[in-house]
């Protein structure tokens, strides 16, 4: 047990997992929570409702490719989408720093409205609080979403089987690198933009194309694709083999990764999902994804195996093998 919260606990890696599994879940113990999926499922009069919530504390609040308002809507919409739930409504709670310029706030609410319209889901309720100057960085947003899981949709790590193909919906690492560069303290410029976008239409297309063959989907946000694969490998007690050369990565993200010594597989995305599809449905799912703008760079990047259980193995572009473990905290630039 760590004595205090550190930055690592917020990074989506092992430290975050230990915090959630070691402290939060035992205290709030209930079956829906224990699944630890992107959204919690509740049954209301025969209908299955998915509920998801996310806090957004990104700094800077505006960055190439998006801003905190847009991110807050898409983030929760995507958590619902990968749980197979059609987003019905959102709530948005704002924490504003005393002294925040009104036009900055207006720009973020406008961005939220535009994202909600693009995702075709209304923001039906919300809350606003103000904290003293310096107690928060400009503004934070917490969004909660409710979605309806259609009949016959059954997505969970438990359904992942050896032989399933691993599909990634597009280039990895765009968001995390865009934020790192936007912070400016690394003095690096590159045309890297956040990939924040709603994924409901993509998720729906995958469900339609693969039907029951679609076993599980996950939103590859903090910790990147590598963390999602590790969570599924552990959750389903299967092995996953990743063909690294097939993972789509933009050249600029490769370049920034090489300079900073960061592996794009571990970098956050805000508009990418990972899907686990039965082999016979994989081609149909891939074609369905590539037909949409949000999936045009989609690729089959690996396969589920029996061995080694709970582990993710990478077949490197160089022909050797390496183990792709979950990071403890954020991927930090390194010198050696």
């Amino acid at each position: 047990r760590d004595e205090r919260i550190t930055m690592a606990h917020g990074a989506g890696g092992k430290a975050s997992r230990a915090l959630v599994e070691g402290l939060v879940v035992p205290l709030l113990a209930n079956p829906a929570l224990e699944l630890l999926s992107d959204a919690g499922l509740v049954t209301v009069g025969g209908a299955r409702l998915a509920v998801s919530t996310d806090a957004f504390v990104v700094r800077p609040i505006r960055f190439p490719g998006g801003s905190i308002g847009e991110l807050a809507v898409n983030g929760t919409v995507n958590d619902l989408a990968v749980s197979g739930a059609r987003p019905l409504a959102l709530s948005a709670a704002l924490v504003l720093e005393e002294g925040l310029a009104a036009d900055v706030l207006e720009a973020e609410i406008t961005a939220m409205a535009a994202a909600a319209t693009a995702a075709d889901v209304p923001v039906v309720t919300g809350d606003t609080k103000v904290v003293e100057r310096g107690k928060c960085d400009s503004m934070y947003v917490v969004t909660t979403g409710v979605g309806l899981v259609d009949e016959g949709v059954a997505l969970s790590p438990g359904r992942v089987r050896p032989g399933d193909k691993v599909l990634v919906s597009g280039t990895v690492g765009d968001h995390g690198i865009a934020i790192m560069l936007a912070r400016g303290d690394l003095d690096i410029e590159a045309d890297v933009r956040s990939d924040t976008q709603p994924l409901w239409s993509l998720a729906a297309a995958l469900m339609a194309a693969a039907g029951d063959g679609l076993h599980c989907m996950r939103d590859a946000t903090r910790g990147g694709v590598a963390t999602v694969l590790n969570e599924i490998a552990l959750g389903a007690e299967v092995g996953i083999v990743l063909e690294e050369s097939r993972v789509p990565v933009r050249p600029e993200v490769v370049g920034a990764g090489e300079i900073l010594g960061i592996d794009p597989l571990y970098v956050a995305n805000e508009g990418k999902l990972v899907a686990f599809v039965a082999p016979e449905h994989a081609d149909a799912a891939l074609a369905a994804a590539r037909a949409l703008p949000s999936g045009r760079d989609a690729a089959i990047v690996g396969e589920v195996r029996e061995e080694p259980p709970g582990r993710v193995l990478g077949r490197t572009a160089f022909g050797g093998h390496r183990l792709i473990d979950m990071l403890v905290g954020d991927p930090l630039p390194r010198i050696c």
Partner: protein, 91 residues
């Protein structure tokens, strides 16, 4: 023990006692200090090795090409050899 990568010199920048230059690594641009290469004639388009924001040395394109061709030759020799073995049959 020291992560360093090759980048292409794109522009010499004023200021900083003209020890500053802009390099490009696969579309990513960064200002770097070239103070450790005072004694080397650097031109735009040259490749330099970058470590923690400093150019450490100039990448010798001839040496790189030689090292690669030696490897490819080895590769070719090996595939010729394999082919020879495959074609030869001893009755």
């Amino acid at each position: 023990m020291c992560l360093a990568i090759p980048g292409q010199l794109v522009e010499f920048l004023p200021g900083n006692a003209d020890q500053l230059a802009l390099v490009d690594v696969v579309g990513v641009k960064r200002k770097i200090n070239i103070g450790l290469m005072d004694d080397v004639k650097l031109e735009i388009g040259d490749y330099v090795l970058i470590h923690v924001g400093f150019a450490m040395s100039k990448v010798d394109e001839k040496e790189a090409a030689e090292a690669l061709s030696m490897l490819e030759l080895m590769g070719q020799a090996f595939t010729d050899e394999l082919q020879a073995v495959a074609e030869s049959s001893i009755e």
